[in-house]
Symmetry: C2
Subunit: 663 residues, 2 copies
């Protein structure tokens, strides 16, 4: 992993900076802290607000999306229907002796990777290469301290070639395994508690939602939402009405969601409470074209990692325009493609390194229970490639399940320009016989037979009846039943429709703001050539927590009135600034603000008092220009709004090489 | 309660509008809804975002506050220490037959008020006045439907004069009662389940926090935060460091908090999940002056309702400048006064009717467990005066309790310009005797004796010892103990300090954004003179959800290119707009947007295609001016930024009285 200027990244140094400058802090740390919970301090909070603001402009304002703000508290029934109560879980293993709990897939990864490293070292020792280098190879650019610790824990034992291959295959497919698979692996490879060597219980599912109860006397069980999407789905019919019944359209929501991680690590990348920004783009399943796709088709080139390549055990990137990718069918449709391009443009706009973005397609078994296709925007960090934006095609899953559960129509009724003739297999039920025959189960049986919109199945039924057979049907909660032609009639019929009724498909770009924020910080971090301890965070001006630092040359009271006046003028321009009138050297004060990523600095010196001129300094180049207060503030405004680049400012205002002492 | 233009407010009409236009919706309504939980639709969500944005500029940016974003999930220990586990509760009564649960104070209010109304009607009947009028008097401007229902439920029974007086006194003091008091009242006045007449159990405390558990296996009990404040207190030391150890300073936080209401009613005014914006201003307890107080002292006049007036059973308003109020001591100090003034300025800026704001001081027994003084900004609504902003002096309560619990210093160490001499009573413990004497209790006894910073008490102890007596001390968990002079020595000693150590006091302005948002909607709601069904929401342009509606004269395709081009230009100016190119009449389309509170409209007609001129319409006056696209967009930008008033625009651009058909 490399820094902003292409040097090796020292993650420990970055982390120290981020905590020292209060970008973030362990929540409740004076109480010992709670893992997976973090507070954002002033620069982190401002950075987050600026990213969200840019997101809102880039997506919601630009595309006229319908923003909603739904509650986090969600009753059990909603999340039961959505599938989260049954399927939103990870597998955990308990050590019955110590009471420790491990996330099963992470444990398998950790142990097998350690064994592979031990094997690699053993092989290196045989050939005489230094051990530390071998470990470094295996772990990439991970920080030194941690590497040393890991190396110490690893047993240097050579494995059979066949075992190495088995381990590697297991690791490549780790996201595909369910609890039983993981249990088999743990047994087969004798995976134990890494701390004590003790035996572990077999994996059990742990639901990742935080439960609570709403109202007094625990009368309504509920959860904290695991995603903002459900509120948007439940309001679909109202949103469609708000949009004057016009399709397609998108809703969007920015808010916190929750995930009760089993044992969160990796700092801001795996947390229990996180800010999400989610778009639900509702689209006609028969027409997934997008009117604005031509705007991005040829101009946006992305790094793709499609599923076929991964299934072959590789990670080679295919680089092409989104236009080509959709044309070839690698990306399924224009709407999905449009959003992948817009996601990439957004990430680059906020300062993410374009070379460290890839779009990885989910493999079949890896997909969430609701998704029919999914591409993740992954950002490269010192922890590996991290999923920061998911872009899933949730098909008609959510709207359908909620409509079925509540009986409320969640779909579109479109008046057809010309009525159309439809020929379909239809089912008539003979309720007079069904009722008495199935008694209390009759309703379930009727629903099963009537609900079915699978034309293939109905055609087969008709075929069976034609051949004088009965059909065999599985009814939920009742079991397998034989249905004869006395109970139902299946016929192919023509009908004319002037209204088309359909359930929209949903394309969902879903952003984890905290993960993006952390990855961004790795991408913009670097150190001055002359001093590795002088760190800089090169945020783009629109994203930087504070835009400008106001620095009087010294704490001489003569500077106070002018500093106050300039500060007020900057505030009036809507630009966030800070004054540092401390006694520290100018160089020290600028260094401090380089660490905060403040892109500009204004120095007030004795000359300023005489002739109203001030200097403007740019963070990355440390170059300064000088002009009247008016000239400098006008340039500053344009720089912060992103309509002027520093190179341009340098041509407008004269270079200044005076007072700054970089000490 | 009156509308924006001073007519009686029809709350039902407003509520219908707000739901129809999707300002808000009952959350999970397709699942039957959950009371106390609401979703904001697109206009409500945009309105909320604009209020928050204005708040951030008015407070955080203007005062260089340190914004933080802390987690909502909070471990039990933190809220135990803060007092919320023990004291953040309401009293509830259960009907053992039906299982219904009532909030005790609300039930008492409801029943006694109904009896007083019945009495009033009985008295009116005696004198011959019409009953409906009497009910109307009693209930103010409540909406008709509800009033009728209530009147039906009320038993018209005349009460003794003494009973009327008792009821009225009880209602005036309702906020002062604890569970036992409420139980006594329920018994004494024979208050039953209003629906069934059944007996109720005595009130029991119900904690209002939502509980959950963090991590697998319920290993860490926690709650959803009831306020954003605790996160700010816990980070105090880091924030002080971030502020270069300078005092005073303020932190601020905007985020959701939670309150598990027993039986929420009153729509958006009493909800279980709500957005708060809270400031914690940390100040030296010995110096509560504020450098910017002179800016507001004479220019801001407020409506005060101090506690003395309320304790006398009255609600008369005292109107004076904040300068006078602080000078007289009605408002305790400059910092508190400064914030009251700034709160008022903020509310007026977002469109709240200044005449419908009052500042009410809490009475002694009414205050939250942490507060030493509190003024609420209350807004007048059809539900009565509603607390929308609390401005509490939390003294050193929170920092002290967390410091005591964790042993981490949460205070300020100030280097004194000149060392100072302090003379204080100090206590020395004779641990050799204490230990053996109190054994397992020794630690608690030592803590009790050493912790005490009450100089008066120590002086008394010295006095007792001087007189040859022992002293009597109550030790938590141990009981009352006699301590002789063999166990401790109490002496007055002098010492010189060059560092002063103190725990800051906290002034906390705390905003309930949802309550402000709802009250604001009542304040800006009115109907056109010519048609009561043509409702308008007169939001100020900065706050309005959408700033401008773009209306092509008809859905003639000739207008499309120009509409798209103007729409893109408006977007580039950062102004939120919507296009309505539907076939409805211009009048209908404007009416729809009057209901959404859109302040401006741009009409594109056939003239526009010829000469690039368009009209600009203002919502409240429905007046239109005409100019070139450039002229109109420049005016629009200034109007939306709040630097130009409509009157001024009318002098710049010619009046247009053409195409709009108000039908």
């Amino acid at each position: 992993m490399t820094t902003y200027d292409g040097k090796p990244l020292d993650r420990a140094a970055l982390d120290t900076l981020l905590r020292r400058r209060m970008f973030y802090a362990q929540a409740f740390d004076i109480y010992g802290g709670v893992s997976g919970l973090y507070d954002y301090g002033p620069p982190g909070c401002a950075l987050q607000a600026n990213i969200v603001d840019t997101w809102r402009k880039h997506f919601i304002l630009e595309e006229d999306m319908l923003e909603v703000d739904c509650t986090m508290l969600t009753p059990h029934d909603v999340l039961k229907t959505s599938g989260h109560v049954d399927k939103f879980s990870d597998w955990m293993c308990k050590d019955p002796k110590t009471g420790e709990i491990f996330r099963a897939d992470h444990l398998v990864e950790e142990v097998l990777e350690a064994r592979l490293k031990g094997d690699k070292e053993a092989r290196q020792l045989e050939t005489g290469a230094p051990v530390a280098e071998a470990a470094k190879d295996a772990e990439g650019t991970e920080d030194k301290k941690k590497r040393k610790k890991k190396v110490k824990d690893i047993k240097v034992v050579k494995l059979d070639d066949a075992v190495v291959q088995e381990y590697e295959e297991t690791l490549a497919k780790i996201d595909n395994f369910d609890g039983k698979d993981l249990g088999d692996i743990i047994t087969k490879y004798e995976i134990k508690n890494p701390g004590t060597g003790g035996d572990l219980e077999l994996p059990v599912a742990f639901n990742l939602m935080f439960g609570t109860s709403i109202g007094p006397s625990s009368n309504l069980p509920g959860y904290l939402r695991p995603e903002t999407a459900q509120g948007q789905f439940l309001n679909f019919q109202k949103l469609l009405g708000f949009n004057n019944e016009k399709m397609p359209f998108a809703s969007a929501s920015i808010g916190k969601s929750f995930r009760n991680e089993i044992s969160p690590r990796q700092g801001l990348l795996r947390v229990r409470e996180f800010l999400m920004a989610e778009i639900e783009h509702f689209v006609d399943p028969e027409n997934k074209s997008h009117p604005r796709f031509p705007e991005v088709a040829d101009s946006v080139t992305l790094n793709f990692l499609p599923k076929e390549i991964q299934q072959a055990g590789k990670t080679d990137i295919i680089r092409k325009t989104i236009g080509e990718a959709v044309k070839e069918g690698m990306v399924d449709n224009e709407t999905l493609g449009y959003f992948l391009a817009r996601i990439s443009l957004f990430l680059v706009k906020i300062g993410v390194d374009e070379k460290k973005i890839r779009f990885r397609q989910h493999m079949e078994n890896e997909m969430a229970h609701y998704a029919s296709d999914c591409w993740d925007a992954e950002l490269q960090t010192s922890y590996g490639w991290i999923e920061c934006v998911g872009c899933a095609d949730r098909s008609a899953y959510d709207l359908s399940v909620h409509q079925n559960k509540t009986g409320q129509f969640l779909g579109v009724r479109e008046t057809l320009k010309e009525p159309r003739t439809i020929e379909e297999w239809e089912v008539d039920l003979n309720k007079k016989i069904l009722g008495p025959k199935f008694k209390k189960d009759a309703k379930a049986v009727e629903e099963r037979l009537a609900q079915c919109s699978n034309q293939k199945e109905r055609e087969q039924w008709a075929e069976e009846f034609k051949n004088g057979n009965s059909i065999s049907v599985i009814v939920d909660g009742v079991g397998k039943l034989d249905i004869g032609s006395d109970l139902i009639t299946v016929e192919k019929r023509k009908r004319t429709e002037s209204i088309r009724e359909y359930t929209p498909n949903v394309i969902e770009p879903s952003f984890g703001i905290g993960r993006i924020l952390y990855s961004l910080m790795e991408h913009v971090f670097w150190s001055r050539e002359e001093d590795v301890n002088r760190a800089v965070l090169s945020f783009p001006p629109t994203i930087a927590p504070t835009k400008v630092l106001l620095v009087p040359l010294s704490n001489n009271p003569a500077f106070v009135p002018l500093a106050n006046s300039i500060s007020a003028q900057i505030r009036k321009l809507g630009i966030s600034s800070r004054v540092d009138a401390s006694g520290a050297t100018i160089g020290k004060r600028y260094s401090r603000n380089d660490e905060l990523g403040t892109p500009f600095g204004i120095t007030i010196d004795f000359q300023s008092i005489k002739d109203n001129t001030i200097t403007l300094r740019e963070r990355d180049t440390t170059k300064q220009v000088r002009g009247t207060i008016d000239e400098v503030l006008q340039s500053l405004k344009r720089l912060v709004d992103g309509v002027e680049e520093w190179e341009e400012t340098m041509t407008k205002l004269p270079l200044f090489e005076g007072q700054e002492v970089e000490a």
